[in-house]
Symmetry: C2
Subunit: 310 residues, 2 copies
Amino acid sequence: MASFALGWCEADGTPATGGGGKGVRQALAVLGGQAVGAPEEAVVAGAVAVELVHTFSLVHDDVMDGDERRRHRDSAWKAFGTGPAVLVGDALFALAVETLARAEGAHGAAAVRCLSGVLRDLLHGQADDLLFESRPWAGPQAVRVAEYEAMVAGKTGALLAGALALGPVLAGASPQQVEALTEAGRHLGAAFQAVDDVLGVWGDPEVTGKPVHGDLRRGKKTLPVLAALAGAGPAARSLEALLGSGVPLDTGAARHAAGLVEEAGGRDAAEAAARRHAAAARRCLAGGTFAPEAVGELVALSEFLLDRRL
Amino acid sequence: MASFALGWCEADGTPATGGGGKGVRQALAVLGGQAVGAPEEAVVAGAVAVELVHTFSLVHDDVMDGDERRRHRDSAWKAFGTGPAVLVGDALFALAVETLARAEGAHGAAAVRCLSGVLRDLLHGQADDLLFESRPWAGPQAVRVAEYEAMVAGKTGALLAGALALGPVLAGASPQQVEALTEAGRHLGAAFQAVDDVLGVWGDPEVTGKPVHGDLRRGKKTLPVLAALAGAGPAARSLEALLGSGVPLDTGAARHAAGLVEEAGGRDAAEAAARRHAAAARRCLAGGTFAPEAVGELVALSEFLLDRRL
């Protein structure tokens, strides 16, 4: 089950033929380590821990959200049942902790503390994400864009921050370097999520592997929608009325809603947020004492994140 | 939700009036620490981590088993939903790791490694427990008593071993002392589970808070039943036929099955196993360099475990 969750095999145990993920976290781990000249074993231990935590969080997230598909396949709970999926997530989580606790060198405890912080932020973010679902689209209880951004800093940013920082922590990098990498990772996470939110509404299902207008039809609170609702024009009010009706959106209504989000400026706002966060990440890396080649590749990675289609 | 899971409040947030648990793990943590003269802060950090892991495992276990009741109240998933219960379990788990990683002194990394081992054994045990459910009552695929005992060493033993050993590890106790305490904890866990299994069939529902013959009616593979089936007499074969029929047991059939388990010697075997493991735990503590008063109290605790009714 763990192999399946990691994308290494199919549900029946045959080796996987699919392409796996995008490798963003692994790339961040390698580049974060290179940025501070960390030895390879520290980089690998950090990358492995982050990958295990990431997979754990996907497995449990799909249980929480009831998502049946993940990376063009059944999600783990769909393939094996809810109980086994909860357990395999726990096991991946435990293995992540073990990986750092057993890492060589004097900084294992610091790395586990760093991972603890990542987990704390990640779980807070996931909890807020769950809570947002039951809040209304309009009125004083509506989710504000600032609350959404704080949630994303945890849910998505924490793990990318961990990917950049864990190897350096294991290698004994300075607190200033670790802080700059952590902050850069949070911004990259926010940029990544903003792009993801745009793809969740306007992405090509053939490429993303997710249903068209999926996030809209599920009533998910994402940045384009929240930014659109925060606007003052007639499209924002029509969108508010459509979503607030509580009626599930069929194909036509979802297409109409997507148009209203775009008309009310939600798509532009999300794309601007992505660019803003990517620029902030680059600033975090520029001022420091990092290896220029690694910084150059991190900048290229941030541009890839803005341009991606899946 | 975490407060609810820890038994501190009701589902609506009002302070809990119930009695909480038996305090066995907390007692073990205090006595394990006293046995090696560990400072109070190490003992407390170890005890807190174990309690958090225990609560995490109960919350996720109830999700996996679909159990609706826990300690005379709704289980966490029943009270809050499956998704939130998965998340609160994850948060308790993360907090356990953080508690040890942030503990003062030079042995935080060793303590996290120890906790990793506990988690690995615990999750292996839970996985085996789940797998046992789908195996038959008879034939070559039937669960053997030895397999059951290995599962219990993980599922129940690991956490009691952790309760005894974590404080000492944090305090820098010798490997020999840690190993003896770990082994003693595993045996106490096995004794505890054997008594629990007996109570799961013959316990008073008023006291245990669980339905009468609950484990039998759910077709759970427990020590008394497996030991009974391993016997050669006619009661064992009747029991095998009854359970192997696949028909859910009603009240009368469950009472009949309980009688057959007893007649086939399953209850005696489980009670003997409990006594044997308690004695083995006492031997682990006797040979060592432990404070006699703490050992005396641990022996008293092992006797309490054998005599308990809930």
